[in-house]
């Protein structure tokens, strides 16, 4: 508790445009969860909340809000997909 880690969050599609960059860095407590990251990002980038939905992927897997993050994780914002 109390210790801080830096997380790099990569973004695609409309999320990349909302961030204004392909990735951003953010600081979190070391026991922070995916849900905590969501809240933090939505405060910093309110337009994320306007999306139809979005997911967070950790190490290329869709991650539920209770998943705990580590500094070494590859974290990505996945706005609504539209491939095909």
């Amino acid at each position: 508790m109390g210790s801080i880690m830096k997380i790099t969050v990569i973004a695609f599609g409309v999320a990349r445009e909302i961030f204004g960059a392909g990735s951003i860095e953010t600081e979190l407590y070391t026991d922070a969860s995916v849900g905590t990251l969501r809240n933090l990002l939505e405060q910093k980038y309110p337009r994320l909340g306007d999306l139809a939905s979005y997911m967070i992927a950790v190490n290329s897997e869709y991650a539920e809000p209770n998943i705990v993050l580590a500094a070494s994780d590859e974290v990505a914002i996945i706005p609504p997909v539209s491939g095909g």
């Binding site: 869709y62 609504p80 539209s82 491939g83």
Partner: protein, 138 residues
């Protein structure tokens, strides 16, 4: 056999079809998604596809594995294009071979339907008067 390819160059449909041919195959189903000239009555100039490539490949591998678990299939090839596509170009090509056509049709349909739900690929439609990330907003 499964082959999953994301490519920035035009998709060679014939490569995928030839790759799923098999002496044990009786039926091959192929789905080809192409860029339409209009959407909701608006003229489309081009599409731009962006992929989280590593995860797109792993999600596609999950989908094809699920298809092989569900149907008796022989070979599956999934090609998805990224980058800028003009009207008429092929965005996705899926080829599925099986001993019998039921499995080929159903699995091909399952793969494209699930791809559109779970694979991290995004499409931006570019119009004369603006552009929009498809499905991004309610």
């Amino acid at each position: 056999m499964t082959e999953i390819i994301l490519t920035q160059v035009p998709i060679d449909i014939h490569y995928g079809i030839n790759a799923v041919m098999d002496p044990a195959a009786g039926g091959i189903d192929v789905f080809i998604g192409t860029v339409r000239e209009q959407t909701k009555g608006k003229r489309v100039l081009r599409l731009e596809f962006e992929a989280y490539e590593k995860m797109a490949v792993s999600e596609l591998a999950k989908i094809t594995a699920a298809a092989f678990a569900k149907w008796p299939l022989l070979k599956v090839v999934v090609h998805h294009r990224t980058g800028i596509l003009a009207v008429g170009e092929t965005a996705v090509a899926i080829a599925v071979s099986a001993a019998h056509r039921d499995a080929a049709f159903e699995a091909c349909r399952f793969i494209i339907d699930t791809l559109k739900q779970t694979v991290p690929i995004w499409k931006k439609e570019v119009f004369e008067d603006g552009e929009v990330w498809v499905a991004a907003h309610p």
